[in-house]
């Protein structure tokens, strides 16, 4: 069948399984949008307020569903607005296909209106990118983009298509969904070697990252942990790979990890790592990282082995398959001494994390979980970036993989709104966005998208009137020089919500807005914080709303994320109580 290039693009997207795509029209993609119009009963397009929001929405869609997210933008500024979203997806290994229009071939290289070399711009932040020179290459290139995006270690792929290619007519024939590249067979010799190391270990620690979720390896990981009597810790990206309720689960380690998880990792004599890159946020000072441990490193990406941390044994392959093979190969162990130590650490961690009955970041999260439970909602949690993100990572319980949507590697403030819309679109599940007043301010324009699509997103703004994470660093390491972190904005999020057309609730006085004192200088912030009962009542109402709803909740501007390993520090420098001088 002969079709226009733009139609071939849309047909290829449909053929490759894209049911919902995100994007924003513009001069060099009008043809694509015309093709979308013609195919609107077969493919859903969500227009966001800004291309960045679209890129995060496609990313959130992919993270929550495991499918390839698709985003479309026009040339020039449309394309450059995708850059942060693409980089976010790249650093967290999210499968994404970004389609950009460009000026016609005849105008390329002449600094034409809205011309930008987007393949050049995105070179270091894509798994690969393509400039489609002619119509013959069009459909095969888009298929190739899907194959690359989802194979092995997933990642974003950009396809830049000049307008004349979109307008050319060419033969199109539907093709099947492209298969992922075959995964290399498990190296059984290496598995035997690993099993020997595991059998000889007295203090094994399983350490998993986002790769465990990509490979859906949670049950194999839990099975190995049971067999060798080992605890499981994770990076932020590994959260939700194994249910939080698993008794072996220690949760996140690293800069803001749980005390037990970080300390146990440091005391371990063997760390079995899977799907993680030993990021500096996880390891701290690498020369002091896990000094007592041998390291087995399993990853689908061979280049991760020995990149940041030298492993005693590296294994390239599927985490799911390697863990299954390891489970068969190892001896069943009971390690009462090690587990007694773990229990001790867990008990201490619980003490550290115990809360009173006032609103704190943790009690607010507890109240959200309780409300969701009562409402029978199986929620997805999305976050922005900052303190609220770490609190969410530390506190929420997760039952199933892909229910924690957060920008790990790039740490993109402003990620949350788009991501929450994408995640809720992919799953139909109620999505709670935990955000802060700083992050929310970055991309709150996407409220428009959430309202238009009636996305079931509960936006929970932990409002402390400051950029809390930077403030925390300023408190600890910069002599309380609160440079540009005390926002004191007069923005009324309730009115903002009203203007965008969604219901909103406030809990507490907002520093600098409904409270006369300026947060950051105020010595009595407690008076601005609402009560837990108030919060619970508001949450109950908010969860009854079908579409988007906002809760603006005051929290203490000096609430810290703890524990903390100072940047570049090691476990020896762990800060548990910042008021003590030890």
């Amino acid at each position: 069948m002969k079709l226009k290039g733009a139609q071939i693009i849309i047909e290829t997207l449909i053929e490759q399984g894209a049911k919902t795509v995100f994007g924003y029209p513009g001069g060099q993609v009008i043809d694509i949008y015309d093709a979308l119009y013609l195919a609107k009963d077969r493919i859903n397009h969500i227009i966001t307020a800004h291309e960045q929001g679209a890129s995060h929405a496609a990313d959130g869609f992919a993270r929550a569903s495991g499918e390839v997210g698709v985003v479309i933008a026009t040339s020039g500024p449309g394309a450059t607005n995708l850059v942060t979203g693409i980089a976010t997806a790249y650093l967290d290994s999210v499968p994404l296909v970004a389609i950009t229009g460009n000026v016609p071939n005849s105008l390329i290289g002449r600094d034409s209106f809205q011309e930008v070399d987007i393949t050049g711009v995105t070179l270091p932040i894509t798994k690969h990118n393509f400039f489609v020179r002619n119509i013959e290459e069009l459909a095969p290139t888009i298929r190739e983009a899907f194959r690359i995006a989802k194979s092995g270690r997933p990642g974003p792929v950009l396809v830049d298509i000049p307008k004349d290619v979109q307008q050319a007519i060419y033969e199109y024939e539907a093709a099947p969904v492209v298969e992922k590249d075959p995964i290399p067979e498990v190296d059984m010799d290496a598995v035997a070697e690993a099993a020997k190391m595991i059998n000889a270990s007295e203090k094994p620690y399983i350490y998993i990252g986002g790769g465990a979720i990509t490979d859906n390896a949670g049950s194999e990981i839990a099975a190995l942990a049971d067999k060798i009597d080992a605890p499981i810790g994770c990076t932020m990206m590994g959260i939700s790979a194994v249910p939080t309720s698993n008794p072996r689960w220690l949760g996140m380690e690293g800069m803001h990890g749980h005390y037990a998880s970080s300390i146990a990792q440091n005391e371990a004599d063997l760390i079995i790592t899977a799907g993680c890159r030993f990021s500096d946020r996880g390891t701290g000072n690498v020369s002091k990282y896990a000094r007592n441990a041998k390291i087995i490193h399993i990853d689908i990406d061979a280049s991760e082995l020995n990149k940041n941390i030298k492993a005693n044994l590296g294994l390239t392959g599927s985490i799911k398959k390697v863990f299954a093979a390891l489970c068969d190969a190892v001896e069943e162990r009971k390690l009462p001494q090690w587990n007694a130590r773990i229990d001790e650490l867990k008990a201490y961690t619980e003490d550290l994390e115990r809360q009173g009955d006032v609103i704190t970041p943790f009690t607010a999260i507890d109240a959200i979980m309780e409300t969701a439970e009562n409402a029978g909602e199986d929620i997805i949690v999305a976050t922005d970036v900052g303190q609220h993100q770490m609190w969410a990572a530390q506190r929420f319980d997760f039952k199933t993989p892909r229910t924690f949507i957060s920008s790990g590697g790039l740490g993109t403030m402003g990620f949350g709104m788009g991501a929450a819309i994408g995640a809720s679109t992919a799953t139909g599940k109620k999505t709670v966005l935990i955000t802060g007043d700083g992050s929310f301010g970055m991309n709150l324009n996407e409220l428009a998208t959430a309202v238009t699509n009636q996305s079931p997103v509960v936006i929970f703004v932990m409002n402390n009137g400051v950029l809390g994470m930077v403030r925390q660093w300023q408190t600890l390491f910069f002599d309380k020089h609160y440079s540009n972190t005390t926002l004191q904005r007069k923005t009324d999020f309730i009115k903002v919500a009203e203007a965008f057309g969604l219901p909103a609730f406030r809990v507490g006085n907002i520093p600098g807005l409904t409270c006369s004192s300026n947060c950051g200088d105020c010595s009595n912030m407690d008076s601005c914080i609402g009560t837990l009962d108030e919060l619970k009542a508001v949450l109950k109402k908010a969860f009854e709303v079908k579409g988007p709803v906002l809760i603006d909740c005051t929290i203490d501007c000096d609430a810290f994320v703890l524990p903390m390993l100072p940047p570049g520090g090691s476990i020896d420098d762990i800060i548990v109580d910042p008021t003590s001088n030890d």
Partner: protein
């Protein structure tokens, strides 16, 4: 620190050299020399990179290269089974009384004089990097006006090929 010669077979497409070289830049891998040219098959180009560094870094370079879409094959060339050459063009200032000296140095190195004028000689030399370095050192006292080197190209001895 060791010297490594890395041969990379890539798809012959525009932008590939940028992709490969930008990977070196962004990951902080140094490049001593880089050459690129078409191979026996017009579909492929061959890039030869020389790199000075640790073995671990070299391994990381190879793995990062192998991940790239346009990279077909990567091989770290083994010194004893590799023939490697580079080409030097060098312009030396000369006064008539020095001409003979320069020409005899060129003779010893089997270099060719390819341009001869009142002011300068242009000499061509091909060979291993160390030979070229030695030649340049010897010519320095006469006044090197300008020079350019191609960087190393390398092939494995015997019948084995990179594409195999």
């Amino acid at each position: 620190m060791e010297n490594f010669v890395i041969s990379i077979l890539v798809t012959n497409r525009s932008g590939v050299l940028t992709r490969v070289s930008s990977m070196f830049t962004r990951r902080g891998f140094n490049i001593d020399t880089l050459t690129v040219g078409e191979t026996e098959s017009p579909e492929f180009s061959r890039i030869t990179v020389t790199h000075r560094g640790d073995k671990a870094v070299c391994e990381q370079i190879v793995k990062q290269l192998e991940k790239m879409y346009d990279v077909q094959k990567v091989q770290v060339m083994q010194r004893d089974t590799t023939v490697a050459r580079e080409l030097l063009l060098i312009k030396v200032k000369h006064f008539s009384e020095q001409r003979q000296d320069i020409m005899s140095i060129a003779d010893v190195f089997r270099a060719k004089i390819i341009d001869f004028s009142q002011q300068a000689l242009v000499i061509e030399l091909q060979g291993a990097t160390s030979k070229i370095n030695a030649f340049i050192e010897l010519l320095k006292p006469y006044g090197i006006l300008e020079m350019c080197r191609t960087g190393l190209v390398a092939l494995e001895r015997g019948g084995n090929c990179l594409k195999d």
